[in-house]
Symmetry: C2
Subunit: 145 residues, 2 copies
């Protein structure tokens, strides 16, 4: 066990990368990608989010998100709408096809959660999640000025 194995960002990245890769391969046959799933999941949590909000939530850069949403719109999964209150903003909405896709992927996502946490007690899982939220908050300070 070298120094890397004790380095948190390393452990975090490789765990995330492994889940991401496996999940991506799983949803590809369904015509989805990990990124499209992230958007759909965010809209499932709350529909009609703005682009900027979605970017924050999904950790996808706004300019990347714009083009991702272009594709999802072409596929009929989501629809853009100009925000009535603020015409600068765009809100994104899942279409029936998008919701159908969400219903298909949701159980897969749930399975991944289970597999990832196999052998963890309820408490251990909670502790881990809490730690990840703290970690996320800790990094808030160093964000782009």
């Amino acid at each position: 066990m070298g120094p890397l194995d004790g380095y948190l960002p390393y452990l975090l990245n490789r765990a995330g990368a492994r889940i991401a890769t496996a999940f991506g391969e799983e949803v590809r046959p369904l015509g989805a990608t990990l990124q499209t799933w992230r958007v759909l999941a965010a809209l499932h949590e709350r529909d009609g989010r703005r682009m900027g909000d979605l970017s924050e939530t999904t950790s996808i850069e706004v300019s990347t998100l714009t083009r991702l949403v272009d594709n999802m719109e072409k596929k009929g999964l989501v629809a853009r709408r100009r925000d009535a209150a603020d015409a600068r903003a765009v809100t994104l909405h899942a279409t029936p096809a998008g919701r159908r896709m969400t219903r298909i992927i949701l159980p897969i996502a749930e399975r991944y959660e289970k597999v990832a946490l196999e052998g963890f007690s309820e408490t251990e899982a909670t502790v881990l999640k809490t730690a990840l939220r703290r970690l996320f908050d800790n990094m808030d300070g160093l964000r782009k000025s």
Copy 2:
């Protein structure tokens, strides 16, 4: 707090993304990127690794790694060498310039470890790291056949 906040892959990804972005911005002025750092760190742990080994260690896809290494070689940070024992393989070696870069970035990486784990006790940090290793191992089963 919506459903996403309880979903492990989500928490994992956003924590990783935030660290990655912040770290990337930090090393950019030094002429480095997060990915080049991953390679340098892996070589710092053990020099003369093969491409495939590096790909595993850094979670960078081999074909991506090839081109990343091309760039690093052009910048004089690393050198490829044909493996004496097995001429199919290539081993990668940090050059003096590469080691110099490593010495510069290492303290930054250490600082990030500290910031990320701010407010964590020694025990909590250890528990978290152990959990991330277990999680990584748990995903081993679903890997590409």
